[in-house]
Amino acid sequence: MATDITFEQVNYSYQAGTPFAVQALKNINLQIKSGTFTAVIGQTGSGKSTLIQHLNALLKPSSGTVTIGDQVITNETNNKHLKPLRKKVGMVFQFPENQLFEETVLKDIAFGPQNFGVSEADANELAKRMAGEVGLDESLLSRSPFDLSGGQMRRVAIAGVLALEPEVLVLDEPTAGLDPRGRLEIMQLVTRLREEQGLTIVLITHQMDDVADYADHVLVMGHGELLKQGTPREIFSDPEWLTAHQLGLPSATRFAYELQQAGFEFETMPLTVSELADEIAPQLGKGDDRHE
């Protein structure tokens, strides 16, 4: 049941074969191992969204192959055979609350599974479970999704994707527009899904702190190309390269560089606040005599 994802020499052009053709992906080769947390970073317009739309064949490569588990997608793949893949790979798009349409929250969450042949009764059971999973109160299930707050609507939309019981969960900036508490709750949910259910996570994000805190693999996109891939530590070890590509550092790493200027020494550059504290604590006086 491992669902490794492999891209081999994937090219994609919008409006291929017309004078308006734009090449959005150029010779992409990558692998996403089952059960990992992959972050996709890059500027707006770098090809991140085009890339993830290949993960459940919303787009098919103009050339090259995408392999997801045992399913191979090429330009010739027939649209009729995509359904099992759509169930396997759940997609949470930007501002997913825009996809809600049913009369009640329960019906909306149960909509997806029913499209894949799950009976209404089973889908409703699944919906209730997923609503709990994303932290929606049971009293909301009979309400219209359009009466909920923005943050609640987003969780309904995410529950609707989780109800497909996917093996891979792809999220495109799932925290955009939320307040810090809402952002934290969504990220905690994603981490829990991965740890408890072994979901493979692919996350598009602009938040480098989230990359440092949660990801174990990073893909850096730029102008339709995969510029770099590696662990967060590898990616964030070259601040000049990141700046040149208009990407930032995690705040703890940025702060560590400032401390380096002030005389602190780092064996490895820290990515998180706790790593930072581990490195600098031994270099500090206990301070008990100066402070109480």
Binding site: G151, P180, F264, V273, G287
Partner: protein
């Protein structure tokens, strides 16, 4: 002198049981940058809309630049206020960049020659002159927000209200907008009221007002407020990095100063602490 004065303001949405704004009073001084923070649904945006009469308060009094907000004065008050909203797309009404910048002036019956000059000037200020004839579909969110700011420069208001104007932008777009706003504030001596979740935007402010469930909670300087540490999340703000670092050090049994330090201040304190080891 207070350019914005709010006294005992109340507002309730007709489809809700609770007060969206509950007896809020506050004053904002001319030339200040004031941030209003609070978690989603705390009533911040409602307050902004009430201020320029986009919704009518149930009770209470609003005075802008010595003029009380009434149904008669509302248009005069809007002349003095420029407002940037959250969604870049839903405030771009012109067919092209230049048309959008001109929209506010058209409403004020500015003559065409003046409009042409001011459109060019305003676009130059926000670095969008090269995009003058572009259509909104070809612009990024950050560029659209810069155009919205140009539209405000063109009408030269006294007050700028930002209603989560940077929340839908990526970090670069956000930073660019904040720079433009800082510049404008200095050049035009604007009073800025920004409703925000962004810690950097709040840190730019002279004062921060915290609102929760429609109540006024407190008003303080950024460093006083950031001293709240983890409670900030409940107020709709991130915990600033220096507070996080201090927390982590404390867990490792290192005594840290209690008062808020900004990044610069924390670097200095750490450097001294290291040398005193």
């Amino acid at each position: 002198m207070a350019i914005i004065k709010v006294e005992h303001l109340n507002y309730k949405y007709s489809n809700s049981d609770t007060q969206a704004i509950d007896d809020v009073s506050l004053e904002i001084q001319t030339g200040d940058w004031v941030a209003i923070v609070g978690h989603n649904g705390s009533g911040k945006s409602t307050l902004a809309k009430l201020l320029i009469g986009l919704m009518a308060a149930d009770s209470g009094k609003i005075t802008i630049d010595d003029q009380e907000l009434t149904p008669e004065s509302v248009w005069q008050i809007r002349e003095k206020v420029g407002m940037v909203f959250q969604n870049p797309d839903n405030q771009f009404v012109g067919a092209t960049v230049a048309d959008d910048v001109a929209f506010g002036m058209e409403n004020r019956s500015v003559d065409r020659d003046t409009m042409v000059t001011r459109v060019n000037h305003a676009l130059e200020q926000v670095g969008m002159l090269d995009y003058k004839d572009r259509e909104p579909a070809n612009l990024s969110g950050g560029q659209k927000q810069r155009v919205a700011l140009a539209g405000i420069i063109a009408i030269a208001p006294k007050i700028l209200i930002l209603d989560e104007a940077t929340s839908m932008l990526d970090p670069r777009g956000r930073q660019a907008i904040l720079q433009v706003i800082q510049q404008l504030k200095d050049d035009l001596n604007l009073t800025v009221l920004s409703i925000t979740h962004d810690i950097n935007e709040a840190a730019n402010a002279d004062r921060i007002v915290v609102i929760d469930d429609g109540h006024f909670v407190e008003e303080s300087t950024p460093s006083e407020l950031f001293n709240h540490g983890k409670q900030l999340v409940e107020m709709g703000l991130d915990v600033p990095l220096p507070e996080k670092v201090k927390d982590a050090l404390q867990e490792r049994h290192i005594a840290v100063p209690e008062s808020y330090l900004d990044e610069r201040g924390l670097v200095d304190w750490l450097r001294t602490s290291r040398l005193n080891k």
